[in-house]
Amino acid sequence: MSQNSGSSNELANQIMSIVDDSDMSREQKQLLRELFQNLALHQNKKLDDLFSMVQSSIYEAEHTSESIGHIVVALLPIKHNLRGFFPMFDFSQVSFPDDDLDDLISYNEFIGAYFKCSYDRFLEITDSGIPHDYDTTVELINGSIIKCKCSFRLNYSYVYQEKLLQVAASQYGLETPLIYSPYSRKFAKIVFSEDISISQIQAIHIPCLSQDLAATTIDHKLMWNIEVTNRRSPELPVSQAFSPEMLKQKALSSDTFTANEYVVAGSTPSYKSKYACYPNEYIIFDGVGTRRLAIARDIKESCLYIMYDGQIKIEPIKRIKVNPVHDIMYDIDVLVKQNAAHINSFKATTFIKRRLRSNADIIYSLSAFQQNEYNISIADEFNIFEECPSECISEYQNAHRYYKYQAEQYCYGEIERSILNTRALFCCLTFKGNNPFKEDFARYVLSFMNEYYPEFHWVGRCE
């Protein structure tokens, strides 16, 4: 800290001026100079350590929930392997029930396209209500070329997979906004006008969309640093012999113990279990709301305590593991620069604002997003309107959204991050930068603000 170093250096200088004025020998003076300089350095270091220690404890006291860490979603060539990265969705394995039977049957046999154009343009191409047919050239493995027409249909496979993170966030009370992956939202299935065997296709060229398309599933796939393990047989708990009192004691006495906010609620849970679980792993439970589920984690012993206060026994359905990305950071930086990878860039502020009232409050809470990898900045000036201002960035459509409005929650028991519809004023933020995915980043920021700060309806413009 500058104050510490200032005062220590000043003191050392004062002492040295006294020494210099005295009638000591030159060697003695030199010795004392070195001694006091080293002492001042030592003291600065000690005080800085102390300060950062206390600062981190303040940070911990402010941020009660866990942090899920960096989630990277990258569009990579099929043969490109990054350590710790896994395909976001395995199309050869249908693990998600889909309403659309047609899709279900043909899961194995379709080619998807990743778009890099703006979201509005993407919807115009895929979902405008008017079927668009585009001239296509299809190259087959045997060398023959077929000319036909194709159209696109929206595909939500990746978005469904992202919902796993939303469930984890609500069960574990995670504060970090979850994901930023424009490609999973701009993904559509290609439908050909002629009957072509999918497995025979080597390449597809759609000349009039060459500016809009990023890649297809023939040679690219979306990967993320998350490993999802599906549990077909129930995962066995390590033990069931613990009491809520013991957890309370642990929470009081241990530094490596984190609990979601409900850990003290419900003194006699009907169901409790202890699982072996590393700190970067999240076991997801089926069919439970967050109200009755208490989750506590012992980081040191790598175990997870679950208490559930309900009628039925709850079962773990999936285990997700978030692999840390710092050991492969070099690759990620390059991928981010090429706009192939997207990180949930969020640097939590020291203090959490409970509500936003003044200009400074808004700027402060937005500062969590200012240090992003995409050179996008959010302007300090913003405007407040009574009506929704024109020319704002459009919202993602329902299925692509990170959150739902509360009125849209039809199904009971469905876990969604939801926001209230209030008669709040509109706060319009301005996003600056040259990144082609600026609008998507803006939507990511706006969805976080809408979810956590319902004082305003957050809307944005790009400059």
């Binding site: 206390v54 303040i58 502020t349 203090f351 409970r354 009232r357 200009n359 402060y364 500062s367 004023l425």
Partner: protein, 237 residues
């Protein structure tokens, strides 16, 4: 516990009580020296003492007095250090541009004394859940003069005593007028802009009105110079 660290009265009887004592009761310390002081150190020192620590042992009053003072002083030390670190964290956030460039520049152009006041208000604002009235409090403490000017504060006219700052709401315009008797200098404008940006509700229309208006009650030194006219003790626009 403030009584304990402020008064080293060895004659007064101290009783350590872990059962019935909460922080609120402790705060209402009886002023009468003849009454015993009930202290519950377990509230804050639960990791050092278990509940049964004092139950079997009967310490004489003087030792108990010393122990309690020691605990109270160390608690105060922790509290002070924690508060100072929080203040440092806020200061660091401002300097590192987490509050935006305008606020950073405004903050750095203030005097050290005003910087300290701003940071303490920010801490209070943060700890009290961003309450609205804090802007008015900060405004009055920076621009209002309750008794006399802070001596040596060059930004204010020494003549102004009371009523040098007023807040008036105009319903028809839905605007809040902040009258400051201080001159519209670059420093004062910066200070006002800073506290407005930091604490004021950004949906409100807030208009500063600068300068000296010689309204007031002639002959009454306290009320001679005020920003808005006074009738009786009520000021009018």
């Amino acid at each position: 516990m403030s009584y304990i660290w402020e008064n080293n009265n060895t004659q007064r009887q101290f009783i350590i009580d872990s059962r019935s004592m909460g922080g609120a009761i402790e705060a209402q310390m009886a002023a009468d020296d003849n009454l015993p002081v009930y202290v519950n150190p377990f509230l804050r020192f639960s990791d050092v003492f278990s509940d049964v620590f004092f139950s079997g042992v009967h310490l004489d009053n003087e030792t108990l007095n010393a122990v309690t003072h020691y605990l109270a002083l160390s608690e105060r030390l922790y509290g002070d250090i924690l508060k100072n670190t929080r203040v440092c964290c806020i200061e660091k956030d401002i300097v590192n541009n987490h509050f935006g460039e305008t606020i950073r520049m405004d903050y750095l152009s203030l005097t050290i004394q005003h910087q300290k006041m701003i940071v303490h208000y920010l801490l209070e604002y943060q700890q009290n859940g961003e309450r609205t009235e804090l802007f008015n409090e900060a405004f009055m403490s920076f621009f209002g003069r309750l008794y006399q000017t802070i001596s040596g504060d060059e930004h204010f006219d020494d003549k102004y005593t009371s009523h040098s700052a007023e807040i008036i709401y105009n319903r028809s315009r839905n605007a809040y007028y902040y009258y400051c008797a201080a001159p519209e200098s670059a420093y004062n404008t910066t200070l006002f802009r800073l506290i407005k940006n930091l604490f004021a509700d950004c949906t409100r229309l807030i208009v500063p009105v600068w300068g000296k208006y010689d309204f007031g009650i002639v002959g009454n030194e306290d009320l001679t110079h005020s920003t808005v006219p006074i009738v009786g003790q009520t000021q009018l626009i």
